[in-house]
Amino acid sequence: METEELKQKIYEIVEKSKVKKKLKEKDVIAAASEETGLDKDTVKKALREMIDVGKLMYSYSGGASSIEIPSEEYLKEKGLL
């Protein structure tokens, strides 16, 4: 699988879960690994690349850290929009 395709999958997983449940990094990696059959390290690497460029971000709420899709405000602040 191409990295871009994997990244698309990861993005979809986070997006789908947006309303229902805040996903921890571990949950995202497990879900994407299961869906794609790729090993967790590969998924983690792709996820980290997405976070590094602001495609996804770490968030904190409810007393725990999670992965979220950045808001427009966040992207503007980082000069990415």
């Binding site: 449940k21 805040k22 709420s61 409810g62 007393g63």
Partner: protein, 356 residues
């Protein structure tokens, strides 16, 4: 102005560049130390080299003005080296003995408080309080200030049977080692939180919120797509508020502080101990919390009067028994002192031998 290139994951700078030359030279080769006065000690190395430490109180919350001022002082007398302690004191590291009296003089002139070393009250470990925390039920900086104004001499001059570690936590999350301090003040709530159902629906994960309650007081409220709280079971810990902020536990009328005593972290003589409840509740009475100050002073001075040399508060209480502690301090014993939470069975008396 263009920003410099950011670097990630470099970690902290290596500590070695911040060590005074005499420390670098004698690193790991110190032989002994002597406390010369309540705020000054000397460490002597195998080589015979010495380093003098002058310890000064700090409110922990420092402006950059003050940081520059202490830097000026350290430049003048310490070749630009200083450190902070785990209890928020400032330590000036003086390599040249001649400078000890000079720095002492200048610190006094500038209004700094020297002390806190040895068998006395050191600085107070504390949390953010109303200054900066979202879950505070009291103000930590304010409580520290009024306590230490009153106990000032126990930092600067007076000696106690052993050291007394004070701590203030503005809620039961207890950032800092409040749960193992000689005397500690902790902010507490006393009423079941109120729920903003509309916001719960928007912001909170219902299963996580239910699971967050240590006493299983929270259950689903299907009609509102929210949760409800069983008032008989709630112990006001506020964990649900952390997990789901629309469950608001703040209640200015009923929030206040508890005082716990007898904890320690060292293994000296006896094992480390948790602090235990002395006073279940005192109202927030800012700006100077007179009831809290006099309650702490009473406990401290009762200990000072009755403990043996080298006994920490917890060791003294264990020797005389808690029933005697309540009698000597005159603190009322209430239903709140009886544990009805996790560790209850360890605390009930299982012997007919006790004191009146």
């Amino acid at each position: 102005m263009a920003l410099p290139q950011r670097k990630t994951d470099i970690g902290p700078p290596h500590y070695e560049q911040f060590l005074p030359p005499v420390i670098k030279k004698n690193y790991g080769k110190w032989k002994y130390h002597e406390i010369l006065s309540p705020g000054i000690m000397v460490h002597v190395a195998e080589s015979g080299d010495e380093i003098y430490t002058v310890r000064v109180a700090s409110p922990r919350l420092l402006s950059t003005d003050t940081i520059r001022e202490i830097s000026d002082i350290a430049d003048k007398y310490c070749n630009g080296y200083l450190r902070f302690t785990s209890r928020n004191n400032i330590e000036f590291l003086v390599s040249n003995k001649k400078n000890v009296e000079l720095i002492k003089k200048e610190l006094k002139e500038k209004g700094y408080t020297i002390g806190g070393i040895g068998s006395r009250v050191s600085n107070v470990v504390h949390t953010q309080g109303w200054v900066h925390c979202h879950s505070a039920c009291t103000d930590a900086s304010g409580l520290v200030k009024v306590l230490m104004d009153e106990l000032y001499e126990y930092f600067t001059t007076k000696e106690l049977p052993n050291k007394v570690r004070l701590a203030v936590a503005c809620c039961v999350n207890m950032c800092g080692a409040v749960h193992c301090s000689d005397i500690a003040i902790v902010g507490v709530h006393r009423k079941t939180p109120t729920i903003n159902h509309e916001m719960v629906v928007k912001l909170c994960e219902i299963p996580t919120t239910i699971a967050s309650c240590p006493t299983r007081a929270i259950s689903p409220d299907p009609a509102k797509k929210s949760v409800k709280i069983n008032e008989d079971k709630c112990m006001y810990c506020g964990n649900c508020f952390t997990v789901c902020p629309p469950i608001d536990i703040h209640d200015p009328e009923n929030d206040g502080v508890s005082i716990v005593v007898g904890g320690k972290v060292s293994s000296l003589r006896s094992d480390p101990k948790f602090s235990k409840l002395a006073i279940p509740f005192l109202y927030n009475n800012p700006p100077r919390w007179p009831e809290v100050v006099s309650a702490v002073k009473n406990i401290l001075e009762t200990y000072a009067k009755h403990a043996k040399k080298h006994e920490r508060i917890g060791e003294w209480i264990e020797r005389i028994g808690w029933e005697r502690f309540f009698k000597l301090t005159g603190i009322e014993f209430t239903f709140q002192h009886l544990d009805d939470f996790t560790f209850a069975r360890e605390t009930f008396r299982t012997s007919a031998a006790f004191k009146w």
